[in-house]
């Protein structure tokens, strides 16, 4: 089971944190700090699997991390998860993010925090891995986006109305009015 998913940047600022086990606020902050300290010391060519520090559960838990340009993605897992599998999961996660937001960067994670959580929830739920196939996940997310757009219909009505009004071209429309034909009886009347 996955205990926590943390994403932080090179300076230790957390960009995304998701805990699948209850920790109070302080504990969470400490875990983030500790994890950052452990992970930032690693060279880039050493093993991606770390025995966790004392804080996050001790003996059984491992930290599996990947370092992309400015972000560290760290998954804290226990012994029931395969390390290579989790490594691959991190890759899937990042690629999905990239597909959904072009050129995803740190600020995207903050700005689109809800979307990021949706994607993460497709991947992992309650500490268990749900889906590892990227195309599947992307399909689901796109379905969700569509639904959202539809539902936004009501709230977006005023905005749409305003834009419709702006783009209305009255003179043209008046010119385009098609009057119905006169009824036959009158049509033939001649003055």
């Amino acid at each position: 089971m996955i205990k926590a998913i943390l994403v932080f940047n090179n300076h230790g600022k957390p960009r995304l944190t998701k805990f699948y086990q209850y920790f109070n606020e302080e504990m969470q902050q400490q875990i983030i700090k500790e994890t950052f300290q452990l992970v930032s010391k690693r060279d880039d060519n050493v093993c991606n699997f770390l025995e966790g520090g004392s804080l996050i559960g001790g003996a059984d838990y491992k930290l599996i991390y990947r370092h992309y340009a400015t972000l560290y993605f760290v998954f804290c897992v226990d012994s029931s998860e395969s390390e290579l599998g989790i490594l691959d999961l991190i890759q899937v996660f990042v690629e999905t993010l990239d597909k959904c937001f072009e050129n995803v960067c740190e600020l995207d994670l903050i700005f689109h925090v809800d979307k990021v959580h949706y994607i993460l929830n497709e991947l992992v739920m309650g500490g268990m891995v749900l889906e590892t196939n990227m195309t599947e996940i992307i399909t689901r997310i796109e379905d969700q986006n569509k639904l959202e757009k539809q539902e936004a219909g009501l709230a977006a009505a005023p905005a749409r109305a305003v834009s419709a009004v702006k783009s209305m071209n009255l003179p043209q429309q008046i010119k385009d009015i098609k009057l119905p034909d006169l009824p036959a009886a009158i049509k033939d009347l001649k003055f």
């Binding site: 050493v46 093993c47 699997f49 770390l50 025995e51 400015t70 072009e102 050129n103 960067c105 740190e106 600020l107 995207d108 903050i110 700005f111 689109h112 925090v113 809800d114 936004a152 709230a155 977006a156 009505a157 005023p158 905005a159 109305a161 305003v162 834009s163 009004v165 702006k166």
Partner: protein, 822 residues
Amino acid sequence: MSKILKTHPKSVQAHKDLVLQCLDDKDESIRLRALDLLYGMVTKKTVMEIVRRLMTHMDRAEGTMYRDELLQKIILICSQNNFQYITNFEWYISVLVELCRMEGTQHGGLIASQLMDVAIRVVAVREFTVGQMALLLDNAHVIVGPAAARSSIAEVLYAAAWICGEFSQLLANPKATLESMVRGKVVSLPGHIQAIYVHNMLKLYAHIIATAEEEDDSEMIEEVTTLLLERLPVFVSSGDLEVQERASCIVHVVTLDLDVWINDPPSESEEEEDDAFKKEIFLRDARRAEQASNPYYVKSSAQTSPRPNHNSIQIDEIPVAAIDLNVSLKIPGMTSLDKYQLVDGWQDGSKKRHKKQKKRSKRKGPLTSSSDEEIRQAHVVNTDVGEMPEGAHFSDDNEVDDRPEDDPHRALDIDLDEPLAPNEVLPTRTHYEVHSQKTPEESNEANLQPSQTPTKKKSKNKKDKKEKKEKTKKVKKEQKKVKKKFTGNEENLILDLMDSVKVAAISDETPVAANHINGITDAKNKEKPTDDLDFWLSKDDSSSQAPSEPIVDGTERTASPSSYPSGRDESKSKKTKTKKEKKAKKEKGKDKSEKKKSRKREKVEDSSIRNREEYEETNGTVTQDLEDKPVIPTVQPNNRLLAEDSFLRLDPQSELVNLPWTLDPGESKESQLSFTAEDDTIPDKLRGSLSYIQDGTSSSDLSLRLEFPVTTFLSGKTASRATFTDLLSSGQLSARSSFTIPECPWSFPEVLEEVTRGGSLAVVESVDQTASLYGRSLHGHHVCLLVKYQASSRLTVDGKSTEGILLSNALDHLKTVLMQKQ
């Protein structure tokens, strides 16, 4: 591989060299894994070498968990299978002693137990061991160094003291050892260690006495006695109870007459006595505790018999749990240790137990031996209900509820699995439907949402608004009126501006306006070298802007965007915020109806002063002064401004703004005007004209036009990263919109500058070619933007806001601005 190790050690051994190589890898994880594997690699021949390598590692690895791990592993490796692989115990003892010198380890207890283990079980080495221990004791101060607090290395002293006491006959110089034990520094050790010290002091003492007696060395006896008596009072007054007790007993013993030794004091009854030692004097608890810490007491030794009151102790627990032991398992006593054939036969015994031990995990030390199994058999786990207090009975099986009907506890016994009965459903609030409204009103509602109203006035006014709005729903154009501010100084400035010249769009930058004005004047100047009023727009973002007044009539309206229904302003309570502006503009072709409206407006304005002030307080933080370049063409003297309005003859306060100046040539003056903005989500434009008199002759007009894109209503002042993040994750930002410019002519820094111009939006955070921005409108709507500039000069702007219209207008504005070339 570690898993294979358990079942097929031979196959793992084949890779021994590789594993040993891995030990030297710079990646810590690899080293740890290699360590794990080393279990299987050890053979009699290799163990020394492996341990040596590990020790060198330890020196290199600086004070980390790794060192600790190493230490533990070393010991475990060596001690597996009852020291199966160790041929030279002297070597092992020296390894252990060296390990003692490690600072900061958490495994002092482990070392200690190993020491004791070996000392007890391997008689051949005892002498050597005892010698080493004596050395240790002498150098106790080295071990109890500055790092002692965090480590349990002091436990080693525990072992050392005990061993010395136990095997005191093997000591080369018992007196010296005794002296080192009573040395003053000892009191700084933890309590249980001191207790052992004290205890063993007595043993040593007795031994010394015995030998001295044999040799008739009464001098020695006296020396030692006095030595003890001098030093023991320190212990007697120690804080630890155990130490106190023991020390006082010893004192007692020592001061006794030699003849009294034989006597059996009444307090101690059950112990057997050794002739040489008088342990009966100790209280029973002290005794038990002491024996609890020495499970290796064997009957056959010369010591007093053990008392199996406290039982199975795992080897790892011995030093730590010396006093506090109260495990209630029952062992068939130390008799099990008899099977444990010591000394000569221990090798055989160990082989028999091999098979049994293979089943156990490697973590336990070898000394968990057969006593372990007996422990398991004898230990009955109480899985029944167990003891219960009187009168209580097991209620899990109660099907029948035999409590009285009105027992409150029965009432609380609710079965949560059943669905709710109709009478149990809590009343919930449902949507209140109002059927009398017409649809336009509802959309009015929607439109009016953004403006927050602190008072009921607004709601009342909304209704009025709705009615009016219905009438004028079809009006699309928007024009503004100036609402002048009621300040103390009624500087009524009347500016009457002509319609003819359109001034270029004025956004937050006012210099543009000035230039254009100047341009206009220049054009006109061919005829009249007039002066011009300089008015800069200095914008105070906290101030509001003019409400757009509805104009019912269909008179001249220039092609400007939609206007509001007429009645709107009348009934609104306005939020006014001061804004320094210069121009007051009016519409041309107003009706008389407007005059009436303006009157009403006045009244309403009065009532809204309060609101105005409220808002002023809250928003008065950001001020931006944008000054126009004052350019005044040459001017003739005697220029006065006409304080007259061309078509609005109403009371001047409402429609006209007077600037009673006289401008000399080359002079520039500034004036302030304020605007009220009721709706900050829609961009506005203001037109007006400025009339001036020159040379006392005629009045001329300049027409002006001010544009207020929605961004002017925004202020980025309150942007902070934390609020930004909270806002985004809170779900308040229901409106979302975005646009993309495939070929943006600006560079990223320029884009940023443009977007943040005028302080309407502020950068919260910027990384590479992306930035997040924040702005807050006058009425408190939040706007969050994410600007991304990609490699192919492709610009994406995403926006989230609490107010959809505001957002879409803001984005539209930004888009138009950014699409233009610089």
